[in-house]
Symmetry: C2
Amino acid sequence: MFKYRLLTPGPTPVPEEILLELARPVPHHRTPEARQVLAEVTEGLRYVFQTKHDVIPLTCSGTGAMEAALVHAAPRGAKALCLVAGKFGERWHHIWRTFGVESVAVTVPPGQVVTPAMLEAALRQHPDTQAVCAVHCETSTGVKHDLQALGELVARTNAVFVVDAVSSAGAMELRMDDWQIDFLATGSQKALMLPPGLAFVAVSEKGWQMAQRHQPPTFYFDLKKARQKIREHDTPFTPAHTLLRALCKSLARIRSEGIEAIWSRHARLAYACRAGFRALGLEIFASVPAEGLTAVRVPAQLDGQELLRHVEKHYGVKLAGGQDQLKGKIFRVAHMGYMDFFDILAAIAAVELALRDFGLAITLGAGLAAAQRAYAEFSHP
Amino acid sequence: MFKYRLLTPGPTPVPEEILLELARPVPHHRTPEARQVLAEVTEGLRYVFQTKHDVIPLTCSGTGAMEAALVHAAPRGAKALCLVAGKFGERWHHIWRTFGVESVAVTVPPGQVVTPAMLEAALRQHPDTQAVCAVHCETSTGVKHDLQALGELVARTNAVFVVDAVSSAGAMELRMDDWQIDFLATGSQKALMLPPGLAFVAVSEKGWQMAQRHQPPTFYFDLKKARQKIREHDTPFTPAHTLLRALCKSLARIRSEGIEAIWSRHARLAYACRAGFRALGLEIFASVPAEGLTAVRVPAQLDGQELLRHVEKHYGVKLAGGQDQLKGKIFRVAHMGYMDFFDILAAIAAVELALRDFGLAITLGAGLAAAQRAYAEFSHP
């Protein structure tokens, strides 16, 4: 018997106390208690986003929240830059094109990041850019973008800076206001330790000014209306209010651990995880790895999909594979949200055993020992 | 001590076994088990909708599903008719206008229904109508529209028939295919006995043909892409999959009771509920009342909001008030989803006691006795 361990970069494990919260009877959604929940949620999310702006809850998945941000960030006919380092950057590029925005993709090969120098060059080439979109943690490849440096470049222009923090908010250092982010979106099912169903968007003053200049083509994702409502601790439509109530619990956990301590925990897990897999002779896929997940290249002689099926079937550990052109070529281990170091050890142990099962020459325990040493030695910069 | 009884027309009570389902650990969303859940969900919803077409789950509230339906049903510049008998009809009218559809409202005063004759006249006056939108059960006033007759009229034209069944699907007789409905939308938090967070849309052949003729201005609510995915038992984006898993349980309940038996139960509860309030000298607000809820006019000498606060505070019964211009003028008692006759008796009893508390000359028990007799005498047509 092996326990089932979910180590995918969303959905992620939900703490037991929060699962029980989800089993509580359903209340009405227009009551003083419901308003109190919305007040706590927006206050808690401000802390997670490190912003003084309103954080607006939406009932949808992360893609819905990004669509909401994008349609407010640039009107039809505008020019936008989309920094594409993988599947999610590509998705936002498609959304903009769907809405008639001329989105110029600045694309790097999978595993690489779009550097500030690349953005600088693109802004020089496209001085009429009205919006720039970046993915903080590109979940499909495990890379992290330097939002602070990118934000500085965008802030010098009239363009707004739109950031997908779906798999980073609550896991990786993220400072909306200090880093000059104008639209910031995340989802519930990653480091916020909830099931999927909710997503959140915050908008800066510069962002609201951009949104006021045009009529975004949406009703359900109308952020101007939603902002009015959230200021009265209300929502325009029936929200997924049992998830909101549960979110209060997870935000209380986050506040009690402390957001900087949480960032540090994730950085430490990531550091140990990378050390473990490297010690097995495996290659970390991301040139600049994120703290929320680790993508590892599958040894050339193996089929990654078969490897993951084996790891799940025999050892109960659920990892994520590569998507699209990366299918079978990488596997991804999440360390975001409700996860600790021993969960990461289980993942490394499962992969060690599986690699041996597939006949690779593996020194059993080498990955574990390296992770253990890295964990102990870690000191946050 | 009085138990808390939620008798609002959404959110509605969730059966205890389904609440417990929501507390189960979170699985991954791209697995054979998750595909099995989606297969069961679409099959079960076909039964609820009485359709052979695909039923597409969306992670959003009912308004999101209606937006999805409306943007596929008519392109920018088209003319549509919107049958408006209250707040929800009005909302769909606004959505269409947001998307540049020339929506002509056929409006009746609150409590009235739009009749087939009115639609016939409107279609004659606007022969270039490309879509007609109706609300099955107008939750804000408690009226029911005759979808069968309306559908027949629309079917004679080239227009598509778009129906909001948010508070009717799973409560009131509804036959998508027989009634020639082209777009049908509902939400999870009404008669489907779940918390809010999911919504569903089904589309007829005529509907898909209309959708194919233009490029709907949406990415998140792209039903064409969602249909491709659902046919592989998949979704384009991370769905609220723990709600989907719970939905399997509620669909199993529905199938085991039988959809016609469920319609009959709701009709019987509605019949008894109306008899009870009438026996107290109160007036039923809807000219053609729905089976999912009963709207009752508040006696002129009382403030409806105060009455409902009293009923909740002293007797634990949560009813809904009137919205917008009906605030304080009506109250609404839901009998949809996980509710039985004795819940309705509790609502009547609470209102009886409250009316007496406010000094009205009430024969205590008169409402209860009338409801009891009506319940016993009810025979479904």
